[in-house]
Symmetry: C2
Subunit: 292 residues, 2 copies
């Protein structure tokens, strides 16, 4: 089976599970519609894929990651809904469809995000896993998504947008929390589910960290040289918005070299594992070779 087939299989698995989970909770129709609308909006589903890839790497059925993978995508989705709000990035479109608050209204979008976040923790607590594993996963998830992680990174990102003297170190710190933390969590949660050794868990998290930075650099590069058709949004918006990016701080060639360095570091982490992990190599390649 090749990389694209795996991704498709995992994408289907997580989309089906999310649908089931939302259907099984008793809630107002409008709330369910708003939550489903954004969950169904597609995307690469890279975070669930990382969980499933770790499980398959260690010979464990991906069903064990059912709740972890779905709730990861739910929390990622809530963050997109809130980021798109008028008070935040004020976006009308995401992946070619109306954003949640444009399709419904602002209040509904805020509540749909709140519900996705809250229900995610409830769903994790209901997973068919040992209680100790659930607690460990919820702790890692909360750290990655909360004030010290994603939400803190988002706030610092907003503050940085008003400044033109953002350093490379600050840029990295923002990305490590805003997008990196959930990616590292995907690897960590996979490690807990697969009950891997301490050493492998450390390497998997290192892999996640470098993958995350590579992901962001590639995003920035695509905004300079990408194909609008493939990406599904206008390129050049970072420069127009005077956003601090890797190409802006390092130049396009410098950004490409930084990307290569992250890929090398991520590859080294994979090679340091106690097992062969071709699926993780494939995911890394997918992230840096993608044109969308």
């Amino acid at each position: 089976m090749n990389r694209t087939d795996d991704l498709k299989k995992w994408k289907l698995a997580v989309e089906e599970t999310m649908q089931e989970l939302i259907e099984s909770s008793d809630m107002p129709t409008r709330l369910r519609d708003a939550m489903s609308y954004s969950l169904e909006a597609g995307g690469k589903r890279i975070r669930p894929a990382l969980v499933y890839a770790v499980l398959e790497t260690y010979g464990i059925a991906i069903e064990r990651g059912r709740e972890v993978a779905s709730t990861l995508e739910m929390v990622h989705t809530y963050s997109l809904i809130h980021d798109d709000l008028p008070a935040m990035d004020d976006d009308d479109l995401r992946r070619g469809r109306l954003t949640n608050h444009r399709q419904f209204d602002e209040a509904t979008a805020i509540l749909a995000g709140d519900a996705l976040l809250t229900d995610a923790f409830r769903i994790l607590s209901e997973a068919n896993l040992p209680a100790e594993a659930i607690v460990e996963i919820i702790r890692a998830f909360g750290l990655a998504a909360g004030s010290a992680g994603m939400v803190g990174g988002q706030l610092d990102d907003m503050l940085a947008e008003k400044r033109d003297d953002v350093t490379l170190q600050e840029l990295q710190s923002i990305h490590e929390r805003k997008t990196g933390a959930l990616l590292v969590y995907a690897l960590e949660a996979g490690s807990i589910l697969a009950d891997v050794s301490k050493e492998d868990r450390l390497q998997l998290k290192q892999f996640g960290r470098h993958l995350g930075i590579a992901f962001q650099i590639q995003d920035d590069i695509l905004d300079v040289i990408g194909d609008e058709q493939a990406i599904g949004k206008r390129v050049g918006s970072d420069e127009e918005n005077e956003k601090t990016t890797y190409p802006k701080l390092l130049g396009l060639d410098g950004a490409k070299r930084a990307l290569d360095a992250e890929v090398d570091a991520a590859t080294f982490a994979i090679q340091s594992l106690s097992v062969q992990a071709p699926l993780l190599v494939d995911l890394l390649t997918f992230v840096v070779k993608r044109n969308y």
Copy 2:
């Protein structure tokens, strides 16, 4: 010790703990300021008090409820921050101070709410309790606060505000989710922490349910006949906003009779417990006799 002293002691305990918990997380200063601002805004702290009261009723040190009580107030606070937003109730003042988005800005208020909610689950996962108890508590919390509980109730409340044909049954269903669910959860979490019998747990939840309805009826009554000075906000706003309330549906006397019926039912639940529970009687009296 009388009721007022207990309430003061519990209020102090939960406020100190919340402060410690927020200080101990590494986050952007502005985010911490915004979270602290609303956590420090005061209030009756009735939810933590219910947790502590159950523990004391069963002879257990209130320290065991440290995380449960604090995170309950954190989640209540996040819900107030989001409810006050321009897209929702659009309130400038709460308890005589500027609302979060007026003191900071809308984006910060949204993120402060998101962080309070996310960090609450993380803090619960770190409690010094058996993993099974933590998982059970997180599940109950998520059910009470999520799509089937508080968030769903808030959405239905918004939809109901546009209608003038809301029935008593609908009104009750909205309140049971929007405010009641977290109150029932306070009793349920206390029951789990105190490891009470199944029968007592059921009675405690019944008590919470009737207390919650009584709380809401008293709120509605105070908006008709309350003292503005004591409440800290203008009375009569429900009628102006053409809001469906208990006095509107039942008349003032009818609402008072409904309140009495809820108090009787709550009292009956307390009397059905295997232990004497004067603290719960006191809290019930406080809720229905309060003038703010």
